[in-house]
């Protein structure tokens, strides 16, 4: 029997995602990939995977699984893991857990969080499509049959049991959600008056319910076009902020199309892209314009932050002998050693 996670409830929109599908944008294939690659890298580290191994990305409401393997080691970000059974308990975010065959677990997305991530030790036994396991639902590419998870699905695992070692957790776990997003002026910033750009930078926007993996739609200050509200279609960078005829900006995310015909007023700096993946509808944000030099500095700084977060990953504490251990073991001739579980 192939080790697998059986999907008892799929959640609202659960897909397999890695760091994305590169090299085919010239053929109209979007990059896709995790909205929050930092969360994916950290959960992977917690279960002992390489950073880029595909995990599950969960939007708004998480799935429930039954373990159909001898065991599986799992970690989540942006959610707690509810483990059901005789001893129902919750595992906090950024804390790995190993669960045995037949155990049912539910990924419970934390309030105020839009995106949760789950990594499984060893990852999924799925075939890459165009070099990636990322799911692009619109074209049915990648992941599990190119779609969101459904009830009854079996997600095949590469490992049938967890490695015998301690669980890991992140001390002081926190994936920040900033309120200020740094941007660079966009390639069509000249399609807007200076006063309009200034008003874009001084307004508070709200993340709209209508946001999805393709784009974060914003509500707030409408931006008037000084020229036509359309351009001859050109390429789209990750984090490009387009302003269609409505005047409301849209930040283009993982499933963005490769080309587009709306003017781009600004582009989010690469250091701030993972944080966008954490923002839920109703969240407030403002934009700050920075220089290329500052953007690169912030990118390096984000890489340092990631290294700090990785250093904060530690084995879960030594298992102290329980009362029953003390009663059943002969303490006279030896010392009970505190072993890592």
């Amino acid at each position: 029997m192939t080790p697998a996670l059986r999907v008892d409830a799929p959640g609202l929109h659960t897909t397999v995602q890695d760091f994305g599908r590169r090299g085919f944008q010239h053929a109209g294939v979007p990059v896709s990939g995790a909205l929050d690659p930092v969360a994916l890298a950290l959960t992977n580290r917690l279960v002992g995977n390489a950073d880029e191994v595909a995990g599950l990305e969960i939007l708004y409401q998480g799935p429930t699984f039954t373990i159909e393997a001898d065991g599986a080691r799992i970690a989540a970000a942006g959610a707690r893991i509810d483990v059901f059974g005789d001893d129902t308990h919750a595992i906090p975010p950024l804390h790995s857990v190993s669960v045995r065959r037949g155990t049912q677990i539910r990924i419970s997305v934390l309030p105020g969080t839009a995106t949760a991530t789950v990594a499984v030790e060893g990852g999924f036994a799925l075939e890459p499509v165009l070099g990636s396991l990322s799911t692009y639902v619109r074209a049915g590419l990648g992941g599990l049959e190119g779609r969101v998870l459904r009830e009854g699905d079996c997600l095949p695992l590469t490992k049938s049991a967890p490695e015998p070692r301690s669980e890991r957790h992140m001390q002081n776990p926190a994936l920040p959600i900033p309120e200020t997003i740094r941007v660079l002026p966009g390639p069509q910033v000249d399609y807007f008056e200076d006063a309009t750009f200034a008003s874009f930078l001084s307004s508070t926007y709200l993340v709209s319910q209508a946001s999805d993996r393709m784009g974060m739609r914003l509500e707030g200050q409408v931006l008037a076009h000084a020229k036509a509200p359309e351009i001859v279609s050109d390429g789209i960078a990750h984090g490009a902020i387009q302003v269609p005829g409505s005047g409301l900006p849209i930040i283009l995310l993982a499933d963005r199309q490769t080309t587009g015909g709306y003017p781009k007023i600004a582009v989010v700096i690469s250091a701030d892209l993972p944080a966008l993946g954490r923002m839920a509808p109703g969240a407030k944000l403002r934009f700050e314009c920075v220089t290329q030099e500052k953007a690169l500095q912030e990118r390096r700084s984000a890489q340092d932050d990631f290294k700090r977060m990785v250093r904060a990953i530690a084995p879960v504490g030594a298992r102290l002998p329980s009362g029953s251990d003390l009663l059943t073991q002969n303490l006279v001739s030896g010392v009970v050693s505190a072993e890592e579980c």
Partner: protein
């Protein structure tokens, strides 16, 4: 005779991980030829840190890793390459694609014909008379923007887009024609259907066309679509592709 580019493109930052090289402001064969020529030259050169490039109508978007290369370094290399580039250097592929313009698979043919003051058969003949240039791919995997459509067939997009356009639909809007590579919402006028798959992840490369290619449509009757699909399933269908010097 091909001539070297006679004007400098604009280099525009697209955030800190992409740089656009813009050759013009409009849809123009010569401009698009320059975009494709630069894309091909950059692919030959292989600049370390450049992840991929995306040719579009009048600009090339270069996606790069700023941990490895800077935008300025890419700009400097591109400018050197542009000095001795001619438009569309190298041969192009010219594909002949069977397409059926029968009303059964062309729901907007009559409407287009009325707009153009032609019969449906004349619209088909007019559309199939042109050799189209692949300006770029976008919107869907493998979806090609082909131009330029003959003048009588130029009309704006539908006022009521469809929520579902069948895969293989041949469509027109403004000066472009395209093929829907998979079922999708769409706002273009549907004037035919082709059984040829334009995108298949198990092929290498997965997209049939590439920017810079040429395409002709060969009108076939309705029952031919089924026969071609059978041959595709049996692996015995070969698409006509000629190399042409540019």
């Amino acid at each position: 005779m091909a001539t070297a580019f006679n004007s400098s493109p604009r280099f525009l930052a697209n955030g800190d991980t992409a740089l656009s090289v813009e050759f013009g402001q409009s849809i123009d064969r010569a401009v698009a030829g320059r975009v494709v020529a630069l894309a091909r030259r950059l692919a030959e050169e292989g600049i370390d840190g450049v992840v991929e490039t995306v040719p579009t109508f009048r600009s090339l978007l270069i996606h790069f890793d700023p941990d490895i290369v800077t935008a300025q370094q890419i700009e400097d290399r591109a400018e050197l390459l542009l000095h001795d580039l001619t438009e569309q250097s190298g041969p192009s592929r010219c594909w002949t694609v069977p397409a059926c313009y029968d009303e059964a698979v062309a729901p907007d043919l009559q409407e287009v014909a009325e707009h153009a003051g032609l019969t449906g058969a004349q619209v088909a003949e007019c559309h199939a008379s042109e050799t189209y240039f692949v300006y770029m791919m976008g919107f869907l995997p493998g979806y090609p923007y082909l131009g330029d459509v003959p003048a009588p067939l130029v009309l704006p997009r539908r006022t009521n887009p469809r929520t579902r356009v069948p895969a293989g639909s041949l469509a027109i809007a403004q000066t472009m024609t395209a093929v829907y590579t998979l079922e999708s919402p769409g706002g273009w006028h549907l004037i035919g259907r082709t059984p040829v798959p334009f995108f298949d992840v198990w092929n290498d490369p997965p997209a049939l066309l590439a920017p810079g290619d040429l395409v002709r449509f060969d009108p076939v009757p309705l029952d031919e679509i089924g026969r071609i699909q059978d041959r595709i399933r049996l692996g015995s269908f070969r698409l006509d592709c000629q190399e042409v010097a540019s």
